[in-house]
Symmetry: C2
């Protein structure tokens, strides 16, 4: 018997809520779904006997604390920066919390108190981070159990559009928060390569990419994620020489996105006033250095040798050289770009999205000198624009792991991510029942 509170009932919470409602009879759970939009919460609970839908303002601390106090475990599907406040309340009142987001400094600071109180602070339990940790650790522990030593680990994941719904030259549509896609990678990425610490600043992130080919699925560009170094310890890979986590886009996307980075169109700091007096063509022109000829010609000169017809087509598809009016009254360049992309990269009702993940391991087995190479890959195709592969793979690991915790399958407290056997083994097993199945292949 447990009272579960789910905060946030957006698209990415669909499979999570469905799963928990289905199991609620068996385990005697009462489930509250809360959202700022009460209709959305009601839509998701759909009159289920064990569920109720509520609505409250998450920033109203008193109300939030009152609601949290009535439950045993809180699942926060809020934007990542809002987890901290919820987690603080949870630890104070002795409630467990689960999220799909990266462990924040605020979360880390609650670890000790949570452990003392036997409170679980489950994080990074969605797709990426989430399924990536679980599936990587399964292979790592298997190699280790044979006495193998892992020298290189590379892991890539992308939320993309399925080939059958891919009808734009970018090979991309939004199945996830558009703002995060536009701002992706700002800052500096760090990873380990052949024993050397490597940094890539944002201004070069989309030029220093790897090309990945996944059999039967296609070619992809991979750019480095923010911090790969921190996972060397988390994964127990102390002697690894190469450690890289990256994000996948369709092959060709990164060189075109680099135009935006070089122009400055992904800047989110300067507010452009009266933006709705500008056109997208005018905006591009304002970001270009002085030169002669059309905006298109100036851009070609500006970008230099890497620029090609393919990139130009991708920009034309977005009407970036046109008199198309900007409709945002005031916003950063990133916000103006986002508004355009949300129009151009929208999933249509029957469009299917696609999740692609691949781990690449290099290791040696005891008594052998040849380097072994193993790839572990996952491809998940969504059903339509609402039942997306993204929503499934983000929500399900969280739901399954919460179920496993509440039913005593593991007893771990404080900050946890799905890297421990007692968490990842039953998780991976159950994901397979939902056709989220990795295929492993020895490489020649």
């Amino acid at each position: 018997m447990a009272n579960i509170l789910i905060i946030g009932a957006g698209r990415s919470a669909t499979s999570l809520i469905d799963y928990l409602l289905k199991k609620s009879g068996e385990f005697n759970w009462k489930i509250t779904v809360a959202d700022a939009d009460k209709n959305l919460a009601e839509e998701k609970t759909a009159g289920h006997a064990n569920a109720k839908a509520i609505s409250f303002n998450i920033n109203d601390a008193e109300k939030r604390r009152e609601v949290i106090r009535e439950h045993d475990l809180i699942i926060s599907m809020l934007p990542a920066f809002m987890h901290g406040a919820v987690a603080k309340d949870c630890v104070e009142f002795g409630k467990h919390i689960a999220t799909a987001s990266y462990v924040s400094e605020e979360m880390k600071a609650l670890d000790k108190e949570a452990k003392n109180k036997n409170i679980l602070l489950l994080n990074e339990c969605g797709l990426d981070p989430g399924i990536d940790h679980a599936s990587a650790m399964k292979v790592i522990d298997e190699i280790k159990s044979k006495g193998g030593e892992i020298s290189a680990f590379r892991s890539y994941c992308g939320g993309l559009v399925a080939p059958e719904s891919n009808d734009n030259p970018w090979g991309y549509k939004f199945s996830w928060n558009p703002r995060n896609v536009v701002l992706a990678g700002q800052g500096t990425a760090q990873y380990l390569e052949n024993g050397e610490l490597k940094f890539i600043p944002y201004n070069r992130l989309f030029t220093q990419t790897n090309e990945i080919e996944i059999e039967g699925t296609g070619k992809f560009d991979a750019y480095a994620n923010r911090d790969s170094i921190g996972y060397i310890n988390e994964y127990g890979l102390a002697s690894v020489k190469t450690m890289l986590r990256g994000t996948l886009r369709q092959h060709g996307y990164c060189k075109a996105w680099n135009v935006f980075v070089k122009l400055g169109l992904t800047d989110d700091t300067l507010k452009i006033t009266n933006a709705n007096k500008l056109t997208y063509g005018g905006l591009i022109n304002s970001f270009l250095p002085n030169g002669s000829g059309s905006t298109k010609a100036k851009l070609k000169t500006f970008m230099g040798s890497g620029y090609d017809v393919e990139i130009e087509k991708m920009l034309e598809y977005l009407e970036l050289f046109s008199d198309k009016k900007i409709t945002v009254a005031e916003g950063s360049a990133a916000q103006l770009l986002q508004a355009l992309l949300e129009e151009k990269w929208k999933l249509k009702p029957n469009d299917k999205d696609m999740i692609v993940m691949q781990h690449q391991f290099e290791y040696t087995l005891p008594g052998q000198t040849t380097l072994q190479k193993l790839n572990s890959s996952l491809v998940v195709i969504g059903k339509d624009d609402h039942h997306t592969a993204m929503a499934l793979t983000v929500g399900l690991p969280l739901a399954i792991t919460v179920k496993n915790f509440l039913t005593g399958k593991f007893k771990l407290y404080g900050v946890q991510i799905p890297t421990k056997k007692e968490i990842y083994l039953p998780l991976i097993k159950e994901l397979e029942e939902h056709t989220i199945i990795f295929s492993e292949k020895i490489q020649d």
Copy 2:
């Protein structure tokens, strides 16, 4: 009779405090100098009969409010982000406030209440911003009084090292907050050029520079300041076609600084742990893409056609290709770079710094068709590493303007910057008595 509180007694407050102490007898002022470091506050008041030195924690709101309540006018020499809290207290208690910093959103939000209460919120009253506004407005108003129409305004300022103390290839030493110098320009700059809105993102800021020559002083590079557009209204230049404010560095500095930007060495977001296990040569190498040869050779290839021997010499001067150990245990790349620069670019005891400012006006007079060009320039040389031109030109305008306000020379309330005649005219006149004198020259 007035009680004046000066918060912050660092180097940049020296001339401000000296000036106000000198005038304190004549105007019956009691002056309190507050600093987190009581010794510093005592050093600056030096037992003056009208002064006292105090020390308190600015983040202790109760104590801060208690101190503010005992005074009539507060001069905040704190870092800019801290003015907001002080200003809020000031407006609540009916106290005036004066700063040398840019008008913040927090300050703007207090404007209406301050006007209602006849409270002055004086800002941008140092060097740049400050003297630049006052001296530009003097010329602008003079041209306007002749019926002239200004079509272009460019204004440049730099805090540099004097030629006689310039003994490093960068032509630069710190006379100001090193952190601000290292992080300068992050975000996107906007200005107006020939009627077109122009943006320059940080990744290209140090490549799209102007070359400026100031007679008898030398050649300089100018890079664009964050926001030049906002000053079109402030300066009353509605019909201007070119509006640019920029920062000066010695000619050659910007192309070398661009190496840091392109490498990613000015990133302040990623914390590098165990940095003290690295060398500066190793750090550069970690930021370089893979390649062959020495770090120096790889950097040359990486930078491409703009790279030359002069830049290499500047980097060598900083020991950036060497095994010099990093001493900072943990910090962003920007912090590691700053630590090195603070060592290399330190003013020696007898070093003199130099302030250079130049406004360039283009205008037409009524009934004439030829474009008039006028430059108004200022050069100030410091005395030594403590009595810097920087401290003089930042502190004096603030001190003089506070004096002019307290003695009734102007009666303006709410947010003010020194663009109005009643503020800038007496200010410029008195600055001239302190040998801060602009020379105007018609250009051919």
